[in-house]
Subunit: 202 residues, 2 copies
């Protein structure tokens, strides 16, 4: 890591461009200009443009993911509440990160790559954490389900896809409906009384 500051400045520049420059594509030259460095220097810190996008996604979710991982050990908090806390942390960062409006047409290739990275990153990072929490809940008798890893994956897939709202664009109301349905499916599926997980919607 030669010069950490420049590295971060490049990510800052990309983030800034993503916020303003909504719909068109972002070029490496633009990133360099915004970061105040020469274009060639970009490739001293990153092997490719894709790598910059990837690094930005990772950086954007560093903190919420850390707090999520920390939450895995706090066994004194009931598992479903910890689940809700994780979602809340991610939701905040998510809305901050992807504040681009949806125009009529779907995103450009650039954007879809970004969303793919986002979903993939969140799921792969969060899945073991959530699975562990579910496993603890099973042991404590608060959750009844045979395959905690798969359950974690299902929940994460539905949530991230709906939160991202790119793959299946829908209104806020529809998103709420889907999440409500997921919760009631979870209640029944894990032998919890109906309505007991309503607090997951906040």
């Amino acid at each position: 890591m030669p010069n950490q500051q420049k590295y971060e400045r490049i990510l800052d520049a990309l983030q800034e461009l993503l916020e303003n420059h909504k719909l068109q594509s972002i070029s490496v030259s633009e990133i360099a200009e915004t970061a105040g460095i020469g274009k060639g220097s970009i490739y001293y810190y990153f092997p490719s443009k894709d790598a910059i996008l990837e690094a930005l996604v990772e950086r954007s979710y560093e903190k919420p993911l850390q707090t999520a991982k920390a939450l895995a050990g706090r066994t004194e908090i009931p598992p479903f509440i910890r689940m809700a806390m994780i979602f809340e942390a991610c939701r905040n960062s998510s809305s901050e990160f992807i504040k681009s409006e949806n125009n009529k047409n779907s995103g450009t290739q650039e954007k879809s790559f970004l969303h793919q990275k986002y979903i993939n990153h969140i799921i792969t990072e969060l899945k073991p954490v959530l699975a562990e929490i579910i496993r603890q809940g099973i042991k404590a008798g608060q959750i009844c389900f045979s395959d905690p890893d798969a359950l974690a994956e299902i929940v994460l897939i539905v949530l991230t896809v709906k939160m991202d709202n790119t793959l299946v664009p829908s209104s806020k109301e529809e998103i709420e409906n889907t999440i409500s349905a997921l919760i009631s499916l979870l209640e029944k599926g894990t032998d919890n009384p109906p309505g007991s997980l309503n607090f997951l919607i906040s």
Copy 2:
């Protein structure tokens, strides 16, 4: 629709290139060359390169989606079996369409755009059909759930994301596990006895 044959030939060319030319990006010139026409002519039939990808996705799933829609009216078949038939039809076309290998790294931007289009198309087209089938099942007392549309969406999201296997790449075994878990969640969540929906895995 000036010359339908050329239109189709362009899609054929793109499909062929997607099968062989696995990892690198595909250029419009390549598509033109493969289709045996001039590059300029491409833009006589399609407004943009993205539109070609989009049209190919739509064409690839035209038949399975039609059979799926036809299945919605066949109320004499139990709902869950119709569900299984739809999935089977899509799975076949899906494995035929996306036969590109996963190299170590994730796909290029081009690919992720394609996968996004695929997932979006399948879900939006299939959701009303599946919701209708579920609604019929509820009326017949075979399914117990309050929001059929949301349930359809949840099922489709998990299935397409796992089938596509790009957003959350995993082994065949893991895919089976996740789908099994989804099924047992469905069983419990819709008041069906455990194991009664095992036939959905085939």
